[in-house]
């Protein structure tokens, strides 16, 4: 009799254990799983940002625009060519400068102005992020930013031509197409049209077409290698000028981005470095240069959660 009672006890105990333990164990494993199990099944659509660190790759623009309400102060500097020799202190005696301000009216649209010492040129541009790369359901593979600029050369000229404001102006139109392949690698293509209102040489066309290509590779979180190349499509300009080549690094320190590079272009706006680059990079016409950009939050984002 006592034997049967122990049997009963055991059965009941086993049952109790099962009742108590099994659902707990199950719940433990499942709780986070249930959470991750999204009702829509698809991964959420997410914009891929920070394709590049700065608004410039080296000489030209990237697809990046600053965030809404951010002002960027950009100081760009190009020294003279390395092959100018020791008399010119390997190019450091000469320098061209561009000072620029940019302001983002929205997260996708920015305006900028600048002044270059080369030919005393003023420039203004508009930049709009038309398409943003996304991940998730129906991903968009690339970001596309549209860029348009006007540059007015204000240097006093003594070559007998009557330089009206119109004749001093040149326009640039670009579609910047970039893809961030992973956190480290981003590549960009830049089909470009530069229109000069005035060309002087026989056979030179007002419109110059070029195709740019470039990219960055991040070596650390705050340091990247950049390269940029603009190929001039066959034309008078392609025969008489050089393609623009540039290699450099980005160094990010909080609100500053330092870009240091070597290039064969001394201009820092499209109309200058795409259509007026004359030195051969591979013959030693290598100019050291840097861009320093500082971001200021002028207006904090107002939309709150």
């Amino acid at each position: 009799m006592s034997k049967t009672i122990t049997l009963l006890k055991r059965a009941a105990l086993l049952g109790l254990l099962l009742a108590g333990a099994a659902p707990v164990a199950r719940a433990q494993a499942d709780l986070l799983g249930q959470l991750e199990q999204d009702p829509q099944k698809d991964a959420p659509r997410q914009v891929v940002d920070a394709t590049f660190k700065a608004t410039r790759l080296i000489n030209g623009h990237t697809v990046q625009t600053p965030g809404e309400g951010t002002m960027v102060f950009l100081i760009s500097h190009r020294f003279g060519p390395l092959n100018s020799g020791s008399y010119e202190f390997f190019g450091l005696d000469q320098a061209t400068l561009r000072l620029g301000f940019e302001y983002a009216l929205t997260d996708r649209f920015e305006v900028g102005v600048g002044r270059s010492s080369l030919n005393k040129t003023y420039d203004g541009f508009l930049k709009y992020k038309a398409i943003q790369q996304t991940t998730g359901a129906h991903p968009v593979p690339v970001s596309v930013t549209l860029f348009g600029s006007a540059a007015i050369m204000t240097q006093r000229m003594t070559n007998g031509i009557d330089y009206t404001l119109g004749k001093r102006t040149a326009y640039t139109y670009q579609a910047l197409i970039a893809r961030k392949f992973n956190t480290d690698l981003s590549l960009q293509l830049m089909p470009t049209l530069v229109h000069r209102n005035l060309v002087i040489n026989e056979g030179e066309r007002n419109d110059v077409f070029a195709l740019g290509a470039g990219g960055r590779y991040k070596l650390t979180k705050r340091f990247s290698l950049n390269a940029e190349y603009y190929y001039l499509l066959p034309s008078y300009t392609a025969d008489h000028y050089r393609n623009s080549v540039a290699l450099g690094v980005d160094i990010e320190t909080g609100g500053h981005i330092f870009q240091m590079h070597v290039t064969n272009s001394t201009g820092m706006i499209e109309q200058q470095f795409i259509t007026q680059t004359s030195g051969n990079f591979f013959d030693g016409y290598i100019c050291f240069g840097f861009n320093v950009s500082r971001n200021f939050t002028v207006k904090q984002r107002t939309r709150r959660i």
Partner: protein, 201 residues
């Protein structure tokens, strides 16, 4: 008599088995509370500047039969007032592409007592468990309150995180800008889960 007793034992087993798998799972379905739109915010106060961000895409689940808790935060959805901070947060500090989520799985302390008193009013609770941030798992103790209001479970929780504990590297140059300890607040309003929502595949 000798034949009858083992049968009784079998019956006992069967009954216990039914209890184990039938009754509790029915109770479980009614006692789970879930949200996919919870709020989380963090605040870092330092001499140089204050840093604040919010996120309203927190998923959380509470099992009130067992006192178990889990929540999941998509890092990329933190919104900052300064866009550059947001970019640096994702790119340089949290590496949100590599570690897209922060999660917490834990167990309420004194669960039985707390859960018994929950219907009668707001309960101050503590949960202990694993907090996963930036790919690093650490034991964490989270304090907060639970309340049942209009059939919903209202949760408020707060805790502190030291970025250094989760191998979030802060360069020397900006070390003064970011607090050693960042305070985190969680606000959740969870709906009772209808069994269809958590049905296993």
């Amino acid at each position: 008599m000798r034949n009858f007793l083992p049968r009784l034992g079998q019956l006992g087993c069967l009954l216990a088995g039914l209890l184990a798998f039938g009754v509790p799972s029915a109770a479980q379905a009614q006692s789970k509370y879930l949200t996919r739109a919870g709020h989380i915010s963090f605040f870092s106060a330092s001499i140089m500047e204050d840093i604040e961000a919010r996120n309203d895409k927190v998923s959380a689940i509470f099992d009130l039969t067992t006192g178990q808790v889990a929540f999941s935060v998509p890092i990329h959805d933190f919104q900052f007032k300064r866009t550059l901070m947001q970019e640096h947060f994702n790119e340089n500090y949290m590496e949100s592409e590599k570690f897209p989520k922060a999660t917490f799985t834990g167990q309420l302390l004194n669960a039985a007592q707390v859960l018994k008193q929950l219907p009668s009013g707001t309960q101050t609770v503590e949960a202990e468990g694993n907090l996963v941030v930036h790919g690093v798992t650490r034991k964490a103790l989270v304090s907060g309150t639970l309340q049942i209001r209009d059939g919903q479970l209202v949760v408020f929780a707060y805790f502190n995180i030291a970025p250094a504990d989760y191998s979030i590297d802060i360069p020397l140059l900006v070390r003064e800008h970011i607090a050693k300890s960042v305070s985190v607040r969680v606000n959740l309003t969870c709906d009772a889960v209808t069994p269809a929502l958590v049905q296993q595949p």
